[in-house]
Amino acid sequence: MTDAPVDAAPAIAEDALVEGSSLWRDARARLKKNKVAVGSLFGFAFIFLFCFVGPFLSPYDANVQDLFSGAEGPSAEHWFGTDTLGRDLMVRVMEGGRISLLVGLVATVVALAIGVIYGATAGYVGGKVDASMMRFVDLLYALPFTIFVILLMVAFGRSLWLMFVAIGCVEWLSMARIVRSGVLSLKKQEFVEAAVSLGYSHRRIIVRHLIPNVLGPVIVIATLTVPAVMLLEAFLSFLGLGVQPPDASWGVLINEGQTNMEIYPWLLMFPAGFFAATLFCLNFIGDGLRDALDPKSAKD
């Protein structure tokens, strides 16, 4: 009789066509509402493009020196200034970003690969095998990473790729732990029982049923591992064990800048600024993802 029922009918009809909302869809919606996380996503995207596309747009080469001009502050020709050998700082920050981001991403992928498989297997198999696998992880946890990374770097130092692997080998431990506890709790759920009773192979269950369901926390941890790796790389640069010259990562640039920050502050400001901003964004994205993927953290 009134307008309301007439309006409600089309609304209800629309709803009926919509599928049931999945975890992913809910998560995405929550993520969109988190302004800081979304801002960070855009920020990271900008930094990523800046570093990977930027050098093509810049007239300068990161390795061309100008010994006659030396370090000069930001100017119209060099927006970020130049370093002590006269190289344009902006291009060096861009290319440094390429390396730092690459190290972060690749090492994290390595850590992910090892950690997920190890953790899922331990959690799934359970029992004594699980216990001994986790004791091994405890053992590795108790190793002082300073000494070990140094020794590994010395042994593998010359190849950038081997460095990724070395760093990844140090970072996979937390990943394994998280995946294992996730799998352990999933194991008790009914859909797994169902799969087992249906006769699926263990590998299939692990790969197709368990891993996708722990993906949430794994993604979160991965986004938080990238900054940890980048910091580790910066520390190695401080020791002189990181990237080889004349390539320079942000860690190397920051180290150079830090020794001269009193007289050439821009040499520190720009690389450190970009480094911090990247870590900032990644951490907030990780936080946002965690908040989004946790069903109980929805606002009322």
């Binding site: 108790a142 000494i147 042994a155 911090a276 953290s297």
Partner: protein
């Protein structure tokens, strides 16, 4: 409880043994000798030096001999720092690192935990974003930037604080702040996460619906559980601060343990590396045990896990 502790200590002993073996092999496999230097050493002299430290014996024999000595408490001499033993080196530097570490940790807790609680309670408001962003800065600026920056501002420009050395209480401020900010940031985030988890529980909702005061909910009910992630991190954090503060020690010239970790590895000083590694591992084992005990005390349900 006693059985639990005893079991964990026994497991810990096995862990230490495993670590000893792994470290020994890794150092033996890494290229470079503790005795190489820019001036060439005559082969006969090198042979004498190596014989003195036992490097001329086969790997297996060296392993067993040093393990035997270790168990009896003799960690061996330093191959590089002649007439100093590993025990001496550790005994001199460990107390310094312990002191610096404890103060930094205290500072980190004082800064981080309240900030994290605040952020969790006032979630998604400015009181959440600002402390979290500041704490993020603590994590995102490496210590080798934060340290010199603080030294420059407070030491050279303002001339308020001394910048290097370890001669009195005022020397502790800058290094402890550098480390404290870094770990404080972690504590803030962990506390925020832990408190959020507690605050989102269904029973909290129920309590609110029943009209329980918010502050009672926060302090009386959620705090214990909310602090758990921070407390879990306390153990590794302390061990990490004590051994990993190489950067802070180098920048502020502090005679602590962190410098020795890096030096021993770079010098290939086998016995020193082994001594430090076992010390670090032992610290972690003990810390984890203490943390687990505290956790069980805070959350009795864990006993059955």
């Amino acid at each position: 409880m006693l059985k639990f502790v005893a079991m964990r200590l026994l497991q810990g002993a096995f862990v230490l043994l495993g670590i000893y073996a792994v470290t020994f092999l890794l150092v033996a496999a890494t290229p470079g000798s503790p005795f190489s230097s820019e001036r060439a050493i005559a082969p006969e002299i090198l042979a004498q030096i190596e014989a003195f430290y036992g490097y001329d014996r086969p790997l297996g024999e060296r392993f067993l001999t040093s393990l035997g000595n270790f168990v009896q408490g003799d960690f061996g001499p330093s191959a590089v720092y002649a007439n100093r033993t590993v025990t001496q080196i550790i005994a001199e530097s460990f107390p310094v690192s312990l002191k610096l570490g404890s103060i930094s940790l205290l500072l980190a807790l004082l800064l981080g935990v309240p900030a994290g609680i605040l952020a969790a309670v006032k979630r998604n408001t400015w009181l959440d974003y600002v402390p979290m962003s500041v704490s993020m800065a603590g994590i995102c600026l490496p210590t080798f930037v934060m340290g010199p920056l603080l030294a420059l501002v407070f030491g050279l420009i303002l001339q308020w604080l001394p910048v290097a050395g370890w001669y009195g209480p005022e020397f502790m401020i800058l290094p402890a702040t550098t480390l404290g900010l870094y770990y404080g940031a972690y504590f803030a985030r962990l506390t925020r996460g832990g408190m959020l988890e507690m605050l989102n529980q269904d029973w909290v909702r129920t309590a609110r619906a029943k009209g329980v005061a918010e502050s009672t909910i926060i302090w009386k009910h959620c705090l214990k559980g909310g602090l758990i992630p921070a407390i879990t991190f306390l153990g590794p954090a302390l061990a990490g601060i004590i051994s990993g503060s190489f950067v802070v020690e180098t920048i502020f010239q502090i005679p602590g343990l962190g410098q020795w970790f890096v030096r021993a590895a770079l010098n290939r000083d086998d016995f020193l590396v082994l001594g430090l590694t076992v010390l670090f591992a032992a610290m972690i084992v003990v810390m984890n045990l203490l943390v687990d005990i505290v956790q069980v005390a805070l959350n009795p349900r864990l006993k059955y896990d």
